[in-house]
């Protein structure tokens, strides 16, 4: 089989039949395995639980039997414990014991012990009876435990290493009645255990409470006193027994005493604390399960086998036709197109095979037609390939030698003649009137000479004429028969007769439809050229045109390139200039020098100049010349600025505002410098004006010393240089402006800073000396002066005197201090009089005065005087001095004037401050005097008042004898007026102390209820006298307060007193509330009320609502004012709520605890 056929088969990774078989087997085995696994799991669990259940029951039964056995023995012994039994005779008891031994074979020995633990009787199957041996059992557990627990079961023990025994002791009924001890053979338990049969190899065993083996089918294990407490199931069971937890009494898999894996279950004998275990080897318990597992496995194997066989058979049946189809397809693919696939299955595979067969038929058919077509096409292709190759070669020639047109033409002619089976050929160029031969190939010498010797006019009926007229290829199969030869057209005749031409093709060379030449090939026999040969020649003709065009373009390109190279040079130079411009913004001169130098070089000029306009004149700014004496020429140019005018190229350019060329200066009628020594060499000149916007700012000019006019390009270049010069100048100007404004800005900042320092000094310091020193120091520093001073003006004698100086020499200062210069004698006075700054640029030349002489002597040359004047009042003058002569900058004058006003301000401030201080001091003294006066007055007034009030009271009290009713009345008036006077005196005193700040609080703890109580009791009688109800409401839980109790009492007394005084009917009341650490004491009345407008006023001094009322009611009008001050001293507030006709309520709100002692009101 071929490799091609094998390839697709190789791609079959897995046979179809194998896949089918695999799927079958997989499905069947999955079902079987799942089913088997579920069955197994269920049956295993069931088998295990049922086995365990059986074991559990067996264990239970055995446990019950053993317990019953022990209980019976216990009961049997029991009747020997009754009191009447112990009372019987010894023989009687012995007889009973013997009877008991007989009745209960398991008991081998009985012992009776009396209440004191002494053995009374012992009856045994194995030994002689013993009576009253007196053996002491009192410390034996058989006695002790029985007495304490009534019944005692001993641990199991072995007698003669062969039989298990246990002692059962039972206490007798009654106090200290004794014990019966029975030794019991436990072989019976063995019988029970051995009788238990479970399966083939199941067994049971008993362990006691400590895990020791008591009974086991294998006696030897028991006799070896085996300890099983370490077996997990035993340990668990013992633990459960201890905790009395029956829930754990379940079975599980474990390891048996012999070390085999077992299912185990147990039951406890609670009375004895024994455990009966029933165990069955797992292997046996699970035997049915294992059998069923085997069956399932076998079933699974069978199923798998069947599935595999069925799958394979089914798959094979299906795969056979498919494989046949595949084989057929392989053969068809290999090219056996006449093969047909034979499948008759009648299903989709047969349809598929038919399709394959049909396709093969169609393929076979198209295959045969294709072959003949290919053959024909191959021939065509071979020919055109030849032409193509030729064309390609020609093209290559055209491309490779663009400047060798001749060889291109020759190569074309060679290919054309070779391919078209022609003897020779020629290429002609047409210049619009005649043809000329440009290239020849194999031309017979005479004919060639003919063609070369003359220009070939397109005669009537010539081939050339045809070409001009039709511009289409011309094919002449026989030159003798064709028109031309007969008409004796000279070229045709020459062709026939000199070249022997009998047939030919001539193709026009057309460039954009214009005839530019002809391509011709010739045969020396009359034979037609084929159509494709004509086409080939036409192609060659087109190629020739392209070659001609290429050559022309190449020439132009070369020319352009050389021009471009020159432009690049120029651009580079311009770039250099620009670079310099941008690099040296400041050094304008460098830029201009570079510009003239570059302009001269690039314009091939001897000399280049730049002039700048200053006013109307144009001055030399930069010069470059190749002449030897450049410096003297420069000097000449400097001295001869020009004006715009027609006399020079630059003048004309400036005048015209555009580029001007003077081609030959000597022949220019207007040119003025023909005879000037420096200028007479100038022959050709160009000048271009420099414009900034609309404004001409200069001229750039280039000059040749020979008459060679500058090209437009050079003039353009010069214009570019002109623009650059403008840019450079502009840059320099802007830079200069920027520098200046920066400097100004810096200066302003400096000024502002100085001003702020001075301002600060003025506002922050009231010390005039500090302020003035600051001002002078700043003024000196800012103006760059060497020293400065402030002079004070004395109004008394109209003299100036030194006040403060900075930077001046000590000698000069002391000299100046001694001087008092009259205002008429100094510029200081003039400056002050006119209120203008005076600048003395040179002290030496100014009129002499005493101050100036001193300054001159100290070496100062210039001074600036700024007067200190405000509101036409002269305070003095600020002076700064320099050691150098010269004017001061205007900005310095400005800033000094500002300083001067600051100084005036400071002086005024200082004086005002002084005055205020003085006034304050005076006021303080006056206030002290007043307070003292008031204190004295108060005392002095009190003394006589004491006498008045004292006598009056003694009189009223009848000390001096009984008085008449009238006299008593008068005396009471005296008393009341005296008391009022006393109140007035007290109030005035208080107020004066408050005003003097002398009223101080005595801060102590106090109780608000006590204060209110004292106030109420003091005013009670007053209220009663007026028929008013006096109510007071004081909460019981008021906190302890702190403040001046006496003063607060005074306040409340005043308020409540007022309330009573101004109320004629109704009720007055006082109440206390507290919140947020404050008391709110309210005093209310039903009096006339206070108008809103008056409410604020009443707390002012000497104010009462209604003066007439006051007179009627008495009072100084000071009470509320004093109260307010006292409350405020406490850090509280006093306020009133009132409405006319509806009474008033005064609120005193004070902190409950005033900690800080208020010093002054």
């Amino acid at each position: 089989m071929s490799a091609a056929a094998a390839a697709p088969r190789g791609r079959v990774r897995m046979r179809l039949s194998f896949k089918f078989a695999l799927a079958f087997v997989g499905l069947v085995s999955l079902v079987l395995i799942v089913n088997g696994a579920v069955n197994m799991w269920l049956s295993y669990d069931e088998a295990k639980s049922s086995a365990v259940r059986v074991q559990q029951e067996k264990a239970q039964a055995a446990a019950e039997r053993i317990e019953q056995f022990v209980s019976e023995i216990e009961q049997q012994i029991g009747w020997t414990t009754h009191a009447q039994w112990s009372a019987g005779t010894l023989d009687q008891r012995r007889y009973d014991f013997v009877r008991l031994l007989r009745q209960v074979p398991a008991i081998t020995e009985l012992v009776q012990i009396d209440g004191s633990g002494k053995e009374q009787l012992k009856v045994s199957r194995l030994a002689m009876d013993v009576v009253a041996s007196g053996t002491d059992y009192s410390n034996d557990p058989r006695f002790a435990k029985a007495v304490s627990d009534k019944v005692w079961f001993s641990p199991v023990y072995f007698r003669k290493e062969s039989e298990p025994y246990m002692t059962i002791s039972v206490a007798h009924v009654g106090r200290n009645a004794g014990v019966t001890v029975a030794e019991v053979n436990l072989k019976f338990i063995w019988d029970v255990i051995t009788a238990i049969k479970i399966g083939k190899s199941g067994y049971a065993y008993v362990v006691d409470s400590r895990g020791r083996l008591i009974a086991h089918p294998d006696i030897s294990l028991v006799l070896r006193d085996t300890d099983l407490s370490r077996l997990p199931q035993v340990a668990d069971a013992l633990a459960a027994l201890k905790t009395h937890d029956p829930a754990t009494n379940t079975a599980a898999t474990a390891t048996g005493p012999q070390g085999a894996s077992v299912l185990t279950a147990y039951s406890a004998i609670p009375r004895l604390n024994w455990l009966v275990f029933v165990e069955l080897p797992i292997r046996e318990a699970m035997a049915p399960v294992y059998t069923s597992l085997l069956q399932t496995g076998a079933l699974l194997g069978l199923g798998l086998l069947l599935a595999a066989v069925a799958g394979t058979l089914l798959a094979r049946r299906m795969a056979v036709p498919i494989r046949r189809l595949q084989a057929g397809a392989d053969r068809l693919g290999a090219g056996e197109l006449d093969y047909r696939i034979g499948i008759r299955t009648g299903d989709e595979i047969e349809v598929l095979a038919d399709r394959f067969n049909k396709m093969a038929g169609q393929l076979q058919e198209s295959h045969s037609t294709l072959e003949s077509k290919v053959e024909a096409r191959t021939h065509d292709l071979a020919e055109s390939l030849e032409f193509q190759t030729a064309t390609a070669e020609v093209l290559r020639t055209v491309a490779s030698s663009p400047d060798d047109l001749q060889s291109v033409f020759e190569s074309m002619l060679e290919k054309a003649t070779d391919l078209c089976d022609a003897q020779f050929g020629a290429l002609y160029l047409y210049d619009g009137s005649a043809f000329a031969v440009a290239a020849m190939r194999n031309l017979p010498a005479t004919y060639a000479d003919f063609l070369r010797s003359q220009s070939l006019s397109p005669h009537e009926s010539s081939a050339f004429r045809r070409l001009i007229e039709t511009k289409t290829p011309l094919h002449i199969a026989d030159t003798i028969e064709a028109p031309g030869y007969k008409e004796r057209e000279p070229v045709r005749v020459a062709a026939v007769e000199l070249g022997g031409v009998r047939s030919m093709i001539a193709v026009p060379l057309l460039k954009k439809g214009e005839l530019v030449g002809a391509f011709a090939i010739y045969r020396q026999e009359p034979r037609s050229f084929a159509e494709n040969q004509i086409a080939l020649v036409t192609t060659f003709a087109d190629q020739a045109v392209i070659a001609i065009e290429n050559t022309r373009l190449l020439g132009e390109l070369r020319q352009r390139t050389s021009e471009l190279a020159r432009s690049v040079d120029e651009l580079t130079a311009t770039g250099d200039v620009l670079k310099i411009i941008s690099r040296s913004t400041v050094e304008l001169q460098t830029v201009l020098n570079t510009l003239v130098e570059t302009a001269a070089r690039l314009c091939d000029a001897h000399t280049a100049l730049i002039f700048r306009r200053r006013g109307d004149e144009y001055h030399l700014a930069a010069l470059h010349t190749t002449a030897s004496d450049m410096e003297s020429f420069r000097e000449y140019c400097r001295e001869h600025p020009f004006l715009p005018g027609s006399g020079s190229a630059a003048g004309r350019a400036a005048l015209a505002g555009r580029a001007i060329q003077i081609p030959d200066a000597l022949n220019d009628p207007d040119y003025m410098f023909k005879d000037e020594p420096w200028v007479k060499n100038f022959r050709t000149l160009v000048a271009v004006p420099l414009f900034r916007g609309e404004e001409a700012i200069g001229v750039i000019s280039v000059i040749r010393h020979a008459v060679i006019p500058f090209t437009p390009k050079q003039i353009d270049l010069l214009t570019t240089f002109a623009d650059q010069a403008v840019i450079a100048m502009e840059n320099a100007r802007l830079f200069e402006e920027l520098r200046q404004s920066s400097a100004e800005l810096a200066r302003s900042v400096e000024d502002l800073r100085a001003l702020s320092v001075v301002g600060q000094a003025v506002t922050s310091s009231l010390d005039l000396r500090v302020v003035l020193e600051t001002i002078v120091a700043r003024a000196v520093e800012l103006s760059g002066a060497d020293g400065g001073a402030i002079f004070r003006y004395r109004r008394a004698d109209h003299c100036f005197q030194l006040w403060h100086a900075v930077g001046l020499e000590a000698a000069l200062i002391s000299k100046l201090r001694e001087m008092a210069v009259h205002e008429e004698e100094t510029e200081l006075g003039h400056a002050a009089r006119d209120n203008v700054p005076i600048e003395i640029a040179d002290l030496a030349t100014a009129p002499s005065g005493p101050l100036r002489r001193a300054a001159l002597l100290a070496g100062y040359k210039s001074a600036l005087i700024v007067p200190l004047v405000r509101s036409e009042r002269v305070f003095g003058a600020l002076v700064i001095q320099r050691r150098a002569a010269g004017r001061f900058a205007p900005s310095t004058v400005d800033i000094l004037q500002t300083f001067a006003s600051q100084s005036v301000l400071a002086i005024q401030n200082a004086r005002l401050f002084r005055e205020i201080e003085e006034k304050g001091r005076q006021l303080e003294i006056a206030s002290q005097h007043k307070s003292q006066f008031l204190a004295n007055m108060s005392h002095e007034l009190r003394t006589p008042l004491n006498a008045i009030l004292g006598y009056a009271e003694l009189l009223v009290d009848g000390i001096y004898g009984e008085l008449s009713e009238k006299a008593r009345g008068v005396l009471e008036r005296v008393q009341s007026n005296g008391k009022h006077l006393l109140g007035l005196i007290n109030d005035v005193l208080d107020l004066s102390k408050i005003e003097a700040g002398q009223l101080t609080l005595t801060i102590e703890d106090y109780a608000m209820p006590a204060v209110v109580h004292s106030v109420v009791s003091a005013t009670e009688s007053l209220a009663k006298a007026k028929g008013l109800t006096l109510a007071s409401a004081v909460p019981r839980d008021l906190p302890l307060a702190r403040g001046d109790e006496r003063r607060l009492t005074q306040v409340l007394l005043n308020l409540l007193g007022n309330a009573i005084k101004f109320t004629d009917a109704g009720e007055v009341g006082i109440s206390v509330g507290f919140a947020d650490g404050r008391f709110d004491v309210a005093v209310r009345d039903t009096g006339p009320g206070i108008a809103a407008a008056d409410q604020a006023r009443i707390f002012e001094e000497f104010q009462q609502v209604d003066n007439s009322n006051t007179r009627r009611k008495g009072g100084t009008g000071l009470g509320l004012s004093i109260s307010k001050k006292i409350v405020e001293l406490h850090g509280g507030t006093i306020s009133v709520e009132s409405e006319l006709g509806k009474g008033s309520t005064f609120h005193v709100v004070i902190p409950i605890r005033v900690e800080r002692k208020e010093e002054a009101a």
Partner: protein
């Protein structure tokens, strides 16, 4: 035996009022006009009570009280300051000087009598 009260007071009217008051109440009264005289009288008569004015010529009531209280056998005699210094702190000043009681001027004779009775019954 009636109680003897020394009154040191420079104002005639006040002395008269106190005298009239005390004698009518059954007390015996002796009088001094200056502080020094008062101290001497106290030493000489050893009264049961002293009423002391504070603003006195030469030595004031504070000083006089201090001197009296400095004499051991007079130390026990109560001294009541009767003064027109009625400002805050004045009472404390009299206490500091050694006074046992304080009555502010202008006094009410009834109040003064009540105060006297506090000390001498």
């Amino acid at each position: 035996m009636s109680k003897r009260i020394l009154v040191i007071e420079d104002t005639e009217d006040n002395r008269t009022i106190i005298r009239d008051l005390l004698t009518s109440a059954g007390y015996e009264m002796i009088e001094a006009v200056t502080g020094e005289e008062g101290v001497a009288m106290a030493a000489e008569h050893k009264p049961d009570l002293i009423l002391m004015d504070i603003q006195l010529p030469v030595i004031d009531g504070y000083e006089a009280t201090r001197r009296i209280k400095a004499i051991p056998e007079l130390k026990g005699i109560p001294v009541i300051a009767v003064t027109s210094y009625a400002l805050a702190g004045d009472e404390q000043k009299t206490r500091d000087a050694g006074c046992d009681g304080y009555v502010a001027k202008p006094f009410s004779p009834r109040q003064l009598l009540a105060k006297v009775r506090e000390f001498v019954g």
